[in-house]
Amino acid sequence: MKTTPIIGLEVHVELETKSKMFCGCPADHFGKEPNTQTCPVCLGLPGALPVPNQKAIESCMKIGLALNCRINELSKFDRKQYFYPDLAKGYQISQYDQPFCSDGFVLLDSGKRIGIERVHMEEDTGKLQHTILEGKKVTLVDYNRSGVPLVEIVSRPDMASSAEAKEYLKKIHEIVKAIGVSSADMEKGQMRLEPTINVKIEDEDNTHFTPLAEVKNINSFNFAQQAIDFEIVRQIEEFEKTGIEKSVTNKTTRGYDAVKKITFLQRTKEEAKDYRYFPEPDIPPFIIENELVEKLRGELPELPERVIANLVDLDIEVKYAKIIYGNQEALNAIFVIARSNSDAAISDKIDLNKLASLIANKKIDITGDIKGEYLKATQVGNTNTDELKTVIEKIIAANPDVVAEYKKGKTGVAGFFVGQAMKETHGQADPRTLNQIVTDLLNR
């Protein structure tokens, strides 16, 4: 029997806009007193109307572009209708059949492409808290989070292992942070994950598919990996016991218990949910012009993959590149040195990989004179400039013809003096310092 897991991931990203998706309430809701950041719109009061946030929509498209999606020319908002205490209006304004972005992909390190079905815009719900008041089980509702912009990234079920899923999630996380649209802080719930898992089981005669399970309430990549692993095993066992295959009506929703490391059945809905989607009549549709798409594309920073690749091109090892790619100061330093290297004499060139490793290990101060700091950090021998000056002056005095060649423009001959000085000092001198002194003296 051959089993192949089929995993899809739904990721919700909370955008860090100033205001909410459809109203002017502050979007930054974490840790605020309950129900202090609401207005008629996000509280769902009679007569209130939504007006969409331009920046949120642009952020959604940026995420789409960074994930290699197509920005759809025509898009609109739709109402997704269901009743739940955290949903003030009794419907969520989301996107159904015409999302802002479609058909993208994420490249895993192995080269495998994970398809992205769509990236769309929606609004967050309020927050629920269960408790007991006067002996009765109740739920407390806080609508501060209601209406905060959410971008939903839906992958194709292209992942075949929990490791691939974890890698995919990490890449999404990196990209979202790199674009700057969200801190994607998992602990604050700014990035939420929902894997949907089933398993393809092939025996000698037939191919079977286990029923789909969607797992909610996962707030870390490790938990996602564990939940997926557990679920795969559980589904295979379940199938061996019952032989039940996937159907349109038997998709289940499960929760994840991080302590027991298990998934458990959460809602026993036999019927598929009927959200009665229809186009949001309070918000006119969108016709997205190419101009806007190109403008947004231009605003995208270089994405992690590309930056790392650029660093590797400079002969920097991947392990260092992966550490420093997000540090703008480090990148500036590297590129400045790389440029000066192209004009410098061979003996003057700075080893970029060495520089990167120093930065990665926080062993160098790159806020000022990078070259100087680098020399200090990499000195391997005597740097006593007075002593070495004496040595070199002697050699210069003894070799006027070489000096003459240098003065004629053959600056490469400086290496001769460095070599002689090294011999004189029995290899004890710091070559960099020698270099510096030789250059200074010759140019005097």
């Binding site: 806009t17 100033k18 205001s19 109203c23 002017g24 309430c25 502050p26 007193e33 309950p34 129900n35 202090t36 950041q37 609401t38 207005c39 008629p40 719109v41 509280l43 007006v51 969409p52 946030n53 331009q54 920046k55 949120a56 929509i57 609109k76 009743f83 739940y84 205490p85 009794g90 808290q129 269960h130 408790t131 008041l133 009765k136 089980k137 109740v138 739920t139 407390l140 509702v141 806080d142 609508y143 929760g255 218990d257 458990f264 959460q266 809602r267 009927d274 009665r276 186009p279 009549p281 918000i283 006119p284 549709p285 969108f286 016709i287």
Partner: protein, 107 residues
Amino acid sequence: MHTVTVTPDEVKKIGKLANLPLQENEVALFAGQFTQTIAVVNELNEIDTSNIPATYQVNGLTNVTREDKVDMSRILSQEVALREAKHTHNGFFVVNRTIDSDAEELL
């Protein structure tokens, strides 16, 4: 043209979807009335709309958005936000527990 009958069972299902409590007599009443109403609506099938797009926005507007900035003028104080609710507690709205799974009690 065939007639569509809306059955009491369908009415009950719709009642659940619409979160409306219905009495038995209402179910029967609505089933009959909806059948009548749908008959009128189905007359639309006499009109050929095979190549005609739907109009969702009758005044032709597109691309209406607002700037991303905080609007202090519309924010309700906690007091006003809670004022019209029947049950509140320490700044929260209160509803009777609807979720059946105990596992969601992550306290």
